[in-house]
Amino acid sequence: MTTGKVKGIISNLVTVVVDGPVSQNEIAYISVGGAKESTKLMAEVIKVTGENVFVQVFESTRGLKVGDTVEFQGHMLEVTLGPGLLSRNYDGLQNDLDKLTGVFLQRGEYNFPLDKEKLWHFKPLAQVGDRVEAAAWLGEVDENHQPHKIMVPFAMEGAYTVKSIAKEGEYKIEDVMAVLTDADGIDHQVTMIQKWPVKKAILAYKSKPRPFKLLETGMRTIDTANPICEGGTGFIPGPFGTGKTVLQHSISKQAEADIVIIAACGERANEVVETFTEFPELEDPHTGRKLMERTIIIANTSNMPVASREASVYTSMTIAEYYRSMGLRVLLMADSTSRWAQALREMSNRMEELPGQDAFPMDLSAIIGAFYARAGYVYLNNGKTGSVTFLGTVSPAGGNLKEPVTEGTKKVARCFYALEQARADHKRYPAVNPIDSYSKYIEYPEFAEYISGLIDDQWIPTVNEMKTYLQRGKEIQEQINILGDDGVPVDYHENFWKSEVIDFVILQQDAFDKVDSVTPLARQRYMLNIVMGICRSDYNFDNFLDVADYFKRVINLCKQMNYSEFESSEFKGFEEKLKALLDEKQIKG
């Protein structure tokens, strides 16, 4: 192995003089603290010029000295993949946070991410003599009720023949589960675990079609107005205080996914603690099991080392791709990708690279693009499907969407959920602006076909009609602001208030109310039909004062319906009252 000596230190950028070959992104360990209390710090090669190798250290470099020794590892940053990842809390380098001792994170403390002693009940899926290739399913174990497939390691190239496979029974992750013979007749042992470099996409699938299946989130402003698909990509930009994190939490709690991976990348520690606290208690609305059973948390909060922030998003994506290869639906949420971009900026700055816009590295949008491209809905080689849906938040500096991270992301993400300060100020949560936001999927014919089968063929036209009412309402509001309440005809007020009904009843949703926070698709359909029924009717009003007063009562009743259990007697009671109220003023056509 190549070794080296520290030559220079600026914060966490360390220059090393080496005695042999090194490769870009290779991992190295630097010994700090002298011989008696030596601690090894993990670092990654980010630039090589002549004999000088620049590494970014994933920890504090306090006390590091010139001449300290460096050992290169001959591989890139890798994660260990195998059963037992679910329910764990990792840092950005896949250290199990629960295994770390002490209240404070001590630098240089690394651990193995899985449990080597736990027994898993293995069932073989392949048979002796089968021809297999990378990612082929050899068997499965039950991991928190998910069929965790034991696969041919992704790194194995070419075709193999199964020489032997373990019988059904209890095994540990390091036991040999199968022996595979390659074309040259050489045998390879396969255990339940494998390693994969995080910066390389796992490409062991047959094809990646355009996403078309709705990923239900229970959030009306997403599912109804701007749906995201399984394997789709979306991003949520928003100034601070507009509810980015609450929105992400709601999605991660409610989305209809088999596996949820939360990458807390450079954000607040207390938000991660909220997830740690709530997820073991809360139930998955789809299966009734605890949310934590299907969740993996990669926590690299803002006070944890900056360099591993970058690693954390790749670690999360690699784990997501691993589960996708098992034919599962994975939802990956990263909060926030801006912090990752800032970590890149800090390093680029220390390396004295010529800066791009706002001092970000020049290749920022290419890096973002390549990362989003790893999401997707795939057909595996065995014909099964799997998906990684990726939702990232962006924290635009000063709330200005014309900044490099937002712009770079907008080019690649297919759904855009624009959080708006004005909506948040008026407590109209979720503060997703219904007019600026979009989902490209709603334009895909394959999605239209799918949703027609799932709901009905009137769904997309109805949603588009709803958006038209919203757009019209916004225009009228601007006119009223200019001309005054009595400067416009009464029917302008009527149309404005129809858009308010849509806003209050469909778009706004109380994330902290037990009933209102999750709206299943059937209920979304029911409410949308009620609201659109209200919008399509004409009303008898003498003056504009009556309009506001009347529609406020309409909104109040609809909101009470939203707060009641679907189809309960309470719900139906409010619905009766609503009907009576509508009968008062509606013109029967």
Binding site: G8, I9, I10, T61, R62, G63, L64, K65, V66, G67, L97, L100, G102, V103, F104, L105, R107, P239, F240, G241, G266, R268, A269, N270, V272, V273, E274, F276, A299, T301, S302, N303, M304, V306, S336, A343, R345, E346, N349, D358, A359, A397, G398, G399, D425, H426, K427, N481, G484, D485, D486, G487, F512, L545, A548, K552, R553, N556, Q560, Y563
Partner: protein, 440 residues
């Protein structure tokens, strides 16, 4: 001062306004040194050339200055003796008292493992309804006042500190004017709480770069009391904008490429390292907590500037003060202020109707603001508009003003009585069950 084994260097090769460089060996990153007696810290090492940041500035440093490396990072001696004392940025007493005896700990130490934290869940009551009702504070939270320099943020902060039920209050003053420093000293002394207070103060009379040590000093002391003494600690940091300005000065003098608003590219991480020291420990770890209330002064109310912007992304909300011309008092602005942790206590540690009452009142207050715009534009107001305006005025006076000092039940009762006075239940949009129970 140099100990026998310490090598003295006397050949400085480069001097800038904030740094000096010399050839030296065996030096650790971030190690402290003295340059002609002035404290300095290693910020860059390249081969045998070491660059030191001199906290007091490099005025008067000669090329043959004596440089001694101290073999340690900046540190503070901690013990119960800290209580009641005033220190400078280096942790040396400035109140004329003796030096503190105790365990020496490095400042700016490692972060708490997130899985060893507890979710904050204890309300910190301040009596100020604009905070307790609309923006409830929780122990373990970090929250700044975003204020223009002329607003009475230090006074409000001192009030909050004195009313809050905590074991220790640690003041980190950065670029405090001498007047404000004396103000804090007097307020704390008059309230008879000096024994609960530890202060680290850098006034405008001290060199700007020294400020960089203040938050780490204050938080090292806070961690000592929270971790080892299991105490509830409240840390006051004022003014973090001046801290960030000092960061910019240093980064500028080290020829780093500035990012937005001339701030260093690492501003977010630098601020996060400080604010994330706020923590609630679980019972198993003694149940101590660190709560941070800071001040970020704004320039003309501009929150898109890099300092408030990055702060807003790190802290758990922000509090704004505003002078309300209608009632002639300073109020806590209900629109822009936000405590992100309030839902952890609102309706749980307080009465069940708290979240809905809070939101309804703010919605009506927003309607009043719209009505006011209409009025200013010369349009006729509706009956509803007029009622909103009347409501807003009384709400401002009885709830939002910073001179209010009542408990949360009283705050909620006042809000319900104002609803009943000006509105019908369906205009308030609160869950029917709560209306049935509390409508007055």
């Amino acid at each position: 001062m140099a100990k026998a084994f310490q090598k003295i260097y006397t050949q400085i090769t480069a001097i800038t306004k904030a740094t000096c460089s010399l050839k030296a060996e065996g030096v650790g990153n971030e190690e402290l040194a003295t340059v002609n007696g002035k404290l300095a810290q290693v910020v860059k090492i390249m081969g045998d050339e070491v660059t030191l940041q001199v906290f007091q500035g490099t005025e008067g440093i000669p090329t043959n200055a004596e440089v001694v490396f101290l073999g340690k990072a900046p540190s503070l001696k901690v013990s119960d003796q800290l209580a009641g004392r005033f220190f400078n940025a280096y942790g040396d007493p400035i109140d004329g008292g003796p030096a503190v005896e105790g365990k020496e700990i490095e400042i700016g130490g490692p972060s708490v493992n997130p899985v060893r934290r507890k979710q904050p869940s204890e309300l910190i009551a301040t009596g100020i309804a604009g905070i307790d009702l609309n923006n409830t504070l929780v122990s373990g939270q970090k929250i700044p006042f975003f204020a223009d320099p002329d607003q009475p943020y230090n006074q409000v902060m001192a009030n909050v500190a004195l009313r809050a039920d905590v074991d220790k209050i640690i003041l980190g003053g950065m670029g405090l004017t001498n007047d404000d420093y004396l103000y804090f000293k007097n307020v704390f002394a008059n309230a008879g709480v000096l024994d609960r207070i530890v202060s680290f103060v850098n006034t405008t009379e001290n060199p700007a770069v020294e400020r960089l040590l203040i938050p780490d000093m204050a938080l090292a002391a806070a961690e000592y009391f929270a971790v080892e003494k299991h105490q509830k600690v409240l840390v006051l940091l004022t003014d973090m904008t001046l801290y960030a300005d000092a960061l910019a000065i240093v980064s500028n003098r080290m020829d780093q490429i500035p990012s937005k608003d001339s701030m260093p590219g690492s501003l977010y991480s630098d601020l996060a390292k400080i604010y994330e020291k706020a923590v609630q420990f679980p019972e198993e770890a003694g149940g101590g907590s660190i709560t941070i209330i800071a001040v970020t002064t704004l320039s003309g109310g501009d929150i898109t500037h890099a300092i408030p912007d990055n702060t807003g992304y790190i802290t758990e909300g922000q509090l704004y003060l505003r002078r309300d011309a209608e009632i002639g008092k300073v109020i806590v602005d209900p629109f822009r202020s936000l405590s992100r942790l309030k839902q952890l206590v609102a309706g749980k540690k307080t009465r069940e109707d708290h979240p809905q009452v809070m939101n309804a009142a703010i919605r009506l207050y927003a309607d009043a603001a719209n009505a006011k715009t209409k009025l200013e534009n010369g349009f006729d107001l509706t009956d509803y508009d007029n009622r909103c305006l009347e409501f807003a005025k009384e709400y401002s006076d009885k709830i939002l003003a910073i001179d209010v000092n009542i408990n949360t039940v009283e705050m909620l009762d006042i809000a319900w009585s104002l609803f009943a006075k000006y509105f019908k239940p369906e205009e308030v949009n609160i869950k029917q069950a709560l209306v049935d129970k509390y409508w007055k």
